[in-house]
């Protein structure tokens, strides 16, 4: 957001928004999560804690909803039927369904326009970035996120979360956030940077699968796939191409019987970049 956009090229800016973005994206990092494979083991969440220096807040503050899990496994239970029995209880997972939720890195993110100091903005990579140094902690972004995927540092956690010598385990590639700052999943932007720098030095494009996010790396069943949506050959692009159900159409153009991709709250037009493949159960 700059004066140039407002004054000079407003028409182009508006049109760009409708087409899903202002920039000519070099990359558009996206994700696909196959819920058929998710077993709700929370390993991705733990990996995220280790990779991104997430504060461990302790049981009391966790109970007060002040946890900092950028990657969280949401658990929903099947509704009981009229007789009060849980119909899905015959299945292995006792009627629970899991939904791993991380920042959806929306292409028209609702958190971006509301930040008074522009601490959250869209990068040319199509990432929804959060600048910790710039954040003043007005918390409007979190209030305007329909996914509630932004977490606030209500306290200063450095000493309580990593008492010596635990501070030695902190990831040096990114900062530790102090109190009063909003934070959220970045799609492991530090790993993206390393891969992009390496590719630039070797004068080539980033190869699909050259790097991965911490959650993807840790998932024991390979439910999480991460990659570049601008590269049609990447695994994630292929999954989007085969599985994504387009909203607002009575007939789908893709004739794929296995098409089960949806995006969370897609009808809000936030254009999220995480595709979930619906869980299919045998009845």
């Amino acid at each position: 957001m700059s004066f140039k956009n407002i004054l000079g090229d407003w028409a182009h800016y508006r049109r760009g928004r409708e087409e899903g973005g202002f920039h000519n994206y070099e990359h558009k990092w996206g994700m696909a999560v196959d819920l058929n494979k998710c077993i709700g083991c929370n390993a991705c969440s733990i990996a995220c804690y280790a990779e991104n220096n997430l504060a461990v807040v302790g049981p009391e503050r966790f109970a007060k909803h002040q946890a900092m899990h950028w990657m969280r496994i949401e658990r929903y239970w099947d509704e009981p039927d009229l007789e009060g029995e849980i119909p899905a209880s015959q299945y292995q997972e006792q009627g629970a369904s899991f939904l791993p939720m991380m920042c959806q890195n929306c292409m028209s993110a609702t958190c971006e326009p509301v930040c008074p100091v522009a601490a959250t903005y869209h990068t040319p990579d199509g990432l929804n970035a959060q600048v910790y140094n710039r954040c003043i902690g007005s918390r409007y972004c979190s209030n305007n996120c329909p996914y509630r995927l932004r977490y606030f540092n209500f306290w200063s956690y450095y000493e309580s979360s990593w008492p010596a010598p635990l501070h030695m385990q902190l990831n040096p590639d990114l900062t530790v956030r102090d109190k009063g700052v909003m934070e959220k999943c970045t799609f492991c932007v530090q790993r993206i940077r390393v891969a992009k720098d390496k590719a630039k030095m070797e004068d080539r494009k980033v190869i699909d699968g050259e790097f991965n996010t911490a959650c993807q790396q840790t998932c024991p069943t390979g439910a999480i796939v991460f990659g570049d949506l601008m590269n049609p050959e990447s695994q994630v692009s292929k999954m989007w191409a085969t599985h994504q159900v387009e909203l607002g159409k009575t007939e789908q153009t893709k004739q794929n019987p296995q098409m089960r991709g949806y995006r969370v709250f897609e009808d809000l037009n936030t254009d999220p970049k995480v595709l979930y493949l619906e869980r299919v159960r045998e009845v």
């Binding site: 522009a118 306290w155 200063s156 109190k179 809000l268």
Partner: protein, 467 residues
């Protein structure tokens, strides 16, 4: 029964004397009130220092209840500030002269409630020390605030409104400050000499004064409407259910005028009682204020109905569920209390007997403001507790720190107001004189009409020395 707005036989010197007496020798009750206010501020300061040291966590805000009483009370104080402009600017332009004895303190209320409201966004910030980043100052790194954000608009709107309403208050006071200057001694003499800007009451000065005052009034009206519309866009511009409502700007403005008018009634009764302003703050004027409040209350109730029915007919599941939850869920006692205080209680203002009974009006006006404060809280919190994401449904109650700061804000407002009434005349002397003059003249003219002869020189007929 008193039917006239003001005693038309009152002498000029009497008006000066009555108002100037209110500036002198504070009684014991005044110092007690100041002491209470300072104690309340002390509570808030202790809470704020603690919060500054520890982080926002001590306010028992959590995920997803990121905003709480702070923002609710912020809207409440911004709302309070609207009635001063209504009384002084809008009623000035439509020539409703009954506003004249009571507009001064209403305008002071505007300025002070804005000064109180402005504190809340600072208090609620996670990193208050970086507050100035919201201001569009020139930085060598070319970093600007985000002009798309309603919070940045808030910042501009509130600063503009605060500056203009303070100026308006001051400009309207200049002739009175000159009267004070002529009667004061000691430090007051020095203060009023500087502030009255050499006012001598010449024709030229009056002409310029009238023009400036009218100009400021015209400037202030759109500003007052815009400021609360912008505050409402903090919510209306978001996509959350219960916030994303197109009727929010008029709804907020109506609510603002409502709580402001109720506060005027409260302060009216307090000032009338303690400063013995029975001659100026008369029962008929109180009645007119009450009628105005009643109309605004009905407009507010109507806008509430619009909001409910548009949710109902909109068939948006999330909005609907939130509305039902407001009526039946965890916040329902407060929501029903808001509806009762905001829409049912104002019917007491419709009865003449109750309107003329000061103790009843005092209690009612306080309760109306309780209702309006609840309204602001009911805008902020239920949406945060029940929005799109089912995983984040939770109810959170404010902690003692939040309550202490909200409590202290009333002390801060009270202290500012207490200082004001002892330093500046809280009844506009020159405008009361104008009002008396015009009433007297109208009287004489109507009498002359009765006797079938026209008074060629109304000045002579009233026997007044002129302004």
């Amino acid at each position: 029964m008193q039917t006239k707005d003001i005693n038309e036989q009152i002498k000029w010197a009497q008006i000066n004397k009555d108002v100037l007496t209110s500036l002198e020798n504070p009684r014991m009750a005044y110092w007690v009130a100041v002491g209470i206010c300072v104690a309340m501020i002390a509570c808030a300061v202790v809470a704020e220092v603690y919060q500054y040291q520890m982080g926002i966590g001590v306010a028992a805000l959590d995920w997803p209840q990121m905003w709480g009483l702070y923002i609710g009370t912020f809207i409440f104080w911004i709302g309070m500030s609207h009635s001063g402009t209504l009384l002084s600017a809008i009623l000035h332009i439509v020539h409703a002269d009954w506003r004249k004895p009571i507009y001064r303190f209403a305008e002071a209320m505007t300025t002070f409630s804005l000064m109180t409201a402005g504190l809340f966004p600072l208090i609620h910030l996670g990193r208050i020390w970086n507050l100035y980043w919201v201001l569009p100052y020139a930085s060598d790194r070319g970093v600007w605030p985000n002009f798309r954000s309603p919070l940045a608009w808030d910042c501009f709107a509130i600063f503009t409104y605060l500056t203009s309403s303070a100026l308006f208050l001051y400009i309207g006071m200049i002739p009175d400050l000159a009267i004070c200057r002529d009667n004061a001694k000691g430090w007051r003499k020095k203060l009023y000499t500087v502030l009255s800007l050499g006012w001598a009451g010449t024709d030229r000065q009056w002409r310029h004064f009238r023009k400036t005052y009218l100009l400021m009034a015209c400037f202030l009206i759109p500003l007052a409407v815009s400021v609360h519309s912008i505050v409402s866009s903090d919510f209306a511009m978001s996509i959350m259910p219960g916030w994303h409502v197109t009727t929010f700007p008029p709804y907020f403005v109506a609510g603002a005028l409502y709580s402001g008018c109720a506060a005027i009634i409260t302060l009216f009764i307090i000032l009338r009682y303690f400063f013995r302003f029975e001659e100026y703050m008369t029962i008929p004027i109180l009645e007119k204020t009450c009628k105005l409040t009643f109309v605004i209350a009905m407009a507010w109730s109507y806008l509430n109905l619009i909001e409910f029915s548009s949710v109902w007919y909109g068939h948006n599941e999330v909005d609907k569920e939130l509305l039902l939850n407001k009526f039946t869920g965890a916040y329902s006692p407060y929501f029903w209390a808001m509806l009762f205080f905001g829409s049912v209680l104002p019917f007491t203002l419709a009865f003449e007997k109750l309107r003329r009974h000061l103790p009843t009006m005092f209690v009612v006006s306080l309760l109306l403001n309780v209702g309006m404060w609840l309204e602001r809280w009911m805008i902020v919190s239920p949406t945060l507790s029940l929005s799109y994401e089912p995983f984040a449904w939770s109810v959170q109650w404010p902690s003692i720190v939040q309550w202490a700061i909200v409590f202290g804000s009333f002390g801060w407002f009270g202290l500012l107001f207490l200082v004001f009434v002892k330093v500046f005349p809280s009844v506009s002397m020159y405008e009361v004189k104008e009002m008396v003059y015009h009433r007297r003249r109208a009287n004489v003219e109507s009498k002359a009409h009765e006797f079938g002869r026209r008074s060629s020189d109304p000045q002579a007929a009233t026997g007044l020395p002129g302004t």
